[in-house]
Symmetry: C2
Subunit: 138 residues, 2 copies
Amino acid sequence: MKQISTRFSIAVHILSVIALSSNDCTGDFIAGSVNTNPVIIRRIMGMLKKAGLLEVRPGIGGATLRKSPEEITLLDIYRAVNVTEENQLFRIHEDPNIQCPVGRNIESVLQSELREAQAAMEQRLAHTTLSQLKAKFE
Amino acid sequence: MKQISTRFSIAVHILSVIALSSNDCTGDFIAGSVNTNPVIIRRIMGMLKKAGLLEVRPGIGGATLRKSPEEITLLDIYRAVNVTEENQLFRIHEDPNIQCPVGRNIESVLQSELREAQAAMEQRLAHTTLSQLKAKFE
DNA sequence: ATGGTTGTAACTGTTTTTGTTATAACCTTA
DNA sequence: TAAGGTTATAACAAAAACAGTTACAACCAT
């Protein structure tokens, strides 16, 4: 990788706009705020919908939160846009030589270490809610 | 990104092999343990050398650690193979619309949140030393 | 001088990301 | 019912990153 996809930051942007505005936000309107193509927004809104965070109204337009901002954490959003494969942040090289003591054990040794590092990051994300972010925009 | 590159796990593999074996480890030998092309190994060893973790002997072959295994953490290795741009794990979309309260503030609000999430992960990586890993291979 | 090694450049195929165009399906309202 | 704005989604393209490969120069003990 180089970095975690902007899908995540755009998803946070989308939910923040929806949480803040009283009137209905269409994909085109949000695209104007994010400054990108509306299809990008709809794609990400589709993921947020699939994750149960958003209710989108086809035809009429706009979307509303399906949970209160207090109940939506950055981790929920992060997971919704599934930025990493199989929810694994770190990738480990495959098929090491099992003749070698290192090659034989590297995967399990690293798996447990990296899982914990990833968990530390995710716990920090889970610590912040959309409602806290909302307060910073007002 | 999809996931963090295998450069990191391969770098850990390389240093573990060197830390464990008494005799000199050539790039070809390590490539055999990792089960990949020797050039991949040399490239990563070059990064570890540049980071001051490794001393490589051109011509004669082999490499030795430049710090004791107690002093080398997973974070040192992670940083050495500079797996992310500018050491920033998360990417944030650019040029949001500054007319919008969200667009105007999203970058700074997210920057501080994501920096902390990344820091939490890195602290966990800094917590584990090569010497601890070494013990798990023996 | 030879042979094994490291250091690098150049190239390839694959995958991911971001953005785009196009089109079908949806729903209000006039 | 027709029109107009909207969501849903497929298909495509350009750019970047990754892992691997070939090739070759530079290095050094014997």
